[in-house]
Subunit: 326 residues, 2 copies
């Protein structure tokens, strides 16, 4: 069933049908006839042919570091929501935290095979910059700030600062930090900076031995908490850079019957949906991930509409969620 078949059946030219489907520049009379035939036959245009002609796929590639993450699934939900409203679909590429794969997928998308890319990256390196520059389609980053492409990111510094402030207000004086490596600027650098600066502004001691790093998983929290608890001088509060890490910390402390928050307080960032049901429920910061997905998608859509629209960098706020772990 092609456009010509429909045209024949409706007694018009293929061009008329095409116009009917697109700009709608057809006389009322023919419009009715065409509409009728299309409805009767259930005709639906070939997307492939359209793509070949228009060079548009109505597909957006979304590159994510892992799929089994609370924050990422919320971002993706936000993107999906926004895209489906305007008939776009979403192609998911899971890199499993592998930078090579990330670059690879970015290249795959090079062949204007998708109309745009949303990159939920853990780092944006020089290599990323190179590849992205070579792409002919717009790219938007979520979660990390970038200067050469539009990005939507979170107030990592502010949230970390605010949480640290809360910790101090509760009377804790020996605060440790479990984070991630510095190649992740948002989490590894900015959150740590918020932590440090808050300590400094409160004229508190900053103990470098109490800053530990690892990966984005519970093991990191578990293992580094163990290290902290085995030190001669132990902290009385642990600020974890992500909720997942905090889950690991809480796990260790519970396992070793160390009372939270009496002996050691724990905080995270992200407000994942499981952190409110653990014992004790975790104090954390909500990041409005769904909204960042929404915004990111809108940004990309704008960029697709008008490729030379200016580069934007939007920062989203946060909200401190106080629970019993602090």
């Amino acid at each position: 069933m092609t456009i010509s078949d429909i045209a024949k059946m409706a007694g018009v030219s293929p061009a008329a049908v095409s116009r009917f489907l697109n700009d709608g520049y057809v006389s009322e009379e023919k419009r009715l006839k065409i509409k009728e035939v299309i409805e009767k036959t259930g005709y639906v245009p070939s997307r492939q042919a359209q793509q070949l002609r228009t060079k548009r796929t109505k597909l957006v590639g979304v590159i994510i570091p892992k799929i089994d993450s609370d924050s990422i699934s919320r971002i993706v939900a936000g993107i999906s929501e926004q895209l489906s409203e305007v008939g776009y679909q979403l192609l998911l590429a899971n890199t499993e935290n592998d930078v090579e794969k990330e670059l690879e997928y970015l290249s795959t998308f090079k062949q204007n095979f998708v109309d745009g890319v949303i990159l939920i990256a853990t780092a944006i390196t020089e290599e990323h910059r190179q590849i992205i520059k070579s792409l002919k389609i717009p790219v938007v980053a979520i979660g990390q700030r970038a200067d050469f492409i539009s990005s939507i990111y979170h107030n990592d510094y502010g949230a970390a600062y605010a949480i640290t402030q809360k910790i101090l207000e509760k009377g804790h004086r020996n605060v440790a930090f479990i984070g991630v490596p510095e190649w992740d600027v948002a989490v590894g650098v900015n959150r740590l900076r918020g932590f440090k600066n808050c300590l400094r502004d409160n004229e508190m001691e900053f103990n470098p031995d109490w800053v530990l790093t690892g990966m984005f998983n519970m093991d990191n929290g578990y293992e580094n908490t163990r290290k902290l608890m085995e030190m001669d001088r132990k902290p009385d509060a642990i600020f974890c850079a992500t909720d997942t890490i905090a889950m690991g910390a809480v796990h260790y402390l519970n396992e070793h019957k160390i009372k939270i928050p009496e002996e050691v307080a724990v905080c995270g960032i992200g407000n994942g949906k499981t952190v409110k049901v653990i014992e004790p429920p975790l104090t954390t910061a909500d990041y409005f991930y769904r909204a960042s997905g929404n915004e990111g998608a809108k940004m990309l859509l704008d960029k697709i509409e008008d490729p030379k629209s200016p580069v934007l960098a939007t920062m989203l706020g946060y909200e401190i969620i106080e629970r019993e772990s602090l």
Copy 2:
């Protein structure tokens, strides 16, 4: 940069280049020349044009009920792993538990816009059957058994039976069940049946008041546990049909200082990655979700290769994971 450009530069016909790219039926001499030009130019064929010609998109649609689920993300990871190995890509459609949307997406995929569909459904209704029958592309179901399409599902009955047996072995005599509605055959019917039959086989009392249902979320576990604990006669163990539900149950019990498992034991199914870090760690059944994604993808790929290969129904096993909640 088109295939003709390459042909011109290599001094051969476009057909030769096409053959080089596909079946490789080219003389050694030209092969070298073509290869050189392609490498030099970084040429990559237009996927759209290929699709128009071959009617194949190398895309697989994956319909999921929700994205922020541990089990589903593991299944998707398994699918993704398998597909990317053979150059296929995956199009994710999130239905957010909306049957209408599920049907809608199924229809979207009708226009051979993807080469196949993997349906991770919570229910397969008559309506599903209708639409799927009308599709010209293969469909594979994961998580639910279906007779008219290939499916890969879990031993829900067996796992539920085995867990119930464990509960009884631990000396619990008053076992409640928190599940989901019956329209989900795998979870709502089979797991409940495993539970019931195990009680019967052990000549234990089955109390219908202790069988409650709700949705696939923590609230279900929380609220129904509350109901159970407010009854005159309370159970001393709760078997939750999913880990997520169990998380809610544990949350309620902890909140009300009801000791697990001394006063009330709790079990789930699924072995989500968070259930081992809650307090106490949850006894559950592992379902090899990643493997089911793997298998499902393989099945679909086979079906795409040979559309008239027989309908398969594969059941995957389970493994009981004993932790402190029982």
